[in-house]
Symmetry: none
Subunit: 225 residues, 2 copies
DNA sequence: ATAATACTCGAACATGCGTTCTTCGTCAAG
DNA sequence: CTTGACGAAGAACGCATGTTCGAGTATTAT
């Protein structure tokens, strides 16, 4: 007989993991079994305990028995005040932007970057954050280099004036990072570098806003020039 | 009558803070009052409680009363695998570079940035790291913007070829961030932006290398253009 | 159908852990 | 000397929280 759900993580497992993470971020310490139950609509502490045991066997969490709140996330652990932000892919001038399938915060073996919560906008939720590695020099007008890591927050296709956004222009086959302004006849996409000219996009031209840029990280190694 | 110890943090306060941090790092959750007492050679829970109350009043920690292990470090906490890097000041094109007086304990009220250890060079020691906030557009040739945060590692005035360094040129009253190359007749300081020309510095001209740039962080807010 | 397994519940139990109270010693000011 | 603030201890108290158990309901295999 096979397990009914051969899959590793059921809905409740995920829900619990999500809650563990958010509670740790919000409060600075892990929740109790009862708090987990309340947050995940499980009415019995023994059921929560049941799932925690499974998660521990799967290696997702570590438990210190007999200890209050003795639960800690392992690998995918945004310990303390850190976000582990998945790097969804590379961003290239001539190609569409890779965006992570929503709600894949967990168990993706892909690479990620750790960013302190204190550096991100206060209301950030790890669900909506992802990162892209810049490929090529084409973003140089946004003061962004080859190899830089751009941290983005998905906004559901919306953007407010003055925000730096990642835009995909299907008709031009162009990806770009610009400050966004809505104007009478369409949109103005303004480069960060003041000496460069803005792009004007007509009202009718399709324009996909893939996210709002919240941070750029550049790690500097040696270079050969 | 003055308080016997007008200073904010006594030895026990520091010891407790240190333990809070290490326990969080080691176990993934905060310790109990009794555990704190044991680790800091305080034999009574009420005494620990006494100090925790003080630390809370000082804003060093947050407590959730009545909650087991409801203690979390606030700002001054390199929680998890994070470095808390002091921001030594601002870096301006026409002024010398502020370098932190060596030996900070981390309980000083100055501003700092949190950076994940995973993003920094592996052999980094928190002692030799500091950060500067860029003032003005003068570093634009290094792809560095006004407001960016530059994380530096002090190298004792040395630099290897190909490293990006912060340099102070006393004779020109100039601070700049460039890739460093030693050449026959002196030094070549190469801008990160390939379209810009390098600076050549003669062997005899004084040149102070204040540190090696290991990372640049740009937080993006809205901008008015 | 029967048995076996996975999942769920609620409640009792035991203890972990924060709180509070009393007591005591030290030091500086009046 | 007395007073009062500060630092320290230890014990008792009681709620918070992990554990365990008995029982019930699906779902699947035999």
């Amino acid at each position: 007989m096979m397990a009914r759900k051969a899959k590793g993580l059921g809905e409740r497992h995920k829900k619990i993991l999500r809650f563990l993470e958010s509670h740790q971020n919000r409060e600075g310490f892990p929740p109790t079994i009862r708090e987990i139950g309340e947050a995940t609509d499980i009415s019995s502490t023994s059921v929560v305990n049941y799932y925690l045991d499974q998660l521990e066997k799967m290696g997702k969490i570590e438990r210190q028995r007999k200890i209050s709140r003795g639960i800690s996330l392992t690998e995918s652990s945004p310990l303390g005040d850190m976000f582990k932000i998945p790097v969804a892919g590379r961003i290239v001038a001539g190609e569409p932007i890779p965006v992570p399938a929503s709600d894949f915060t967990y168990f993706d073996a892909e690479s990620s970057v750790d960013v302190a919560r204190s550096l991100l906008p206060s209301r950030s939720d790890s669900e909506e954050l992802f990162a892209l590695e810049v490929d090529g020099d084409s973003m140089i007008d946004a003061m962004i280099n080859d190899g830089d890591i751009v941290v983005m927050k998905s906004t559901g296709g919306e953007a407010k004036n003055g925000e730096m956004v990642a835009v995909w222009l299907p008709e031009r086959d162009e990806t770009t990072l610009k400050y966004f302004y809505k104007e009478n006849e369409g949109y103005r996409l303004q480069p960060a570098n003041p000496t460069m000219e803005p792009i004007h996009v007509d009202k009718d031209e399709p324009l996909e806003i893939k996210g709002k840029v919240v941070m750029v990280i550049r790690q500097i190694h040696k270079t050969v020039i």
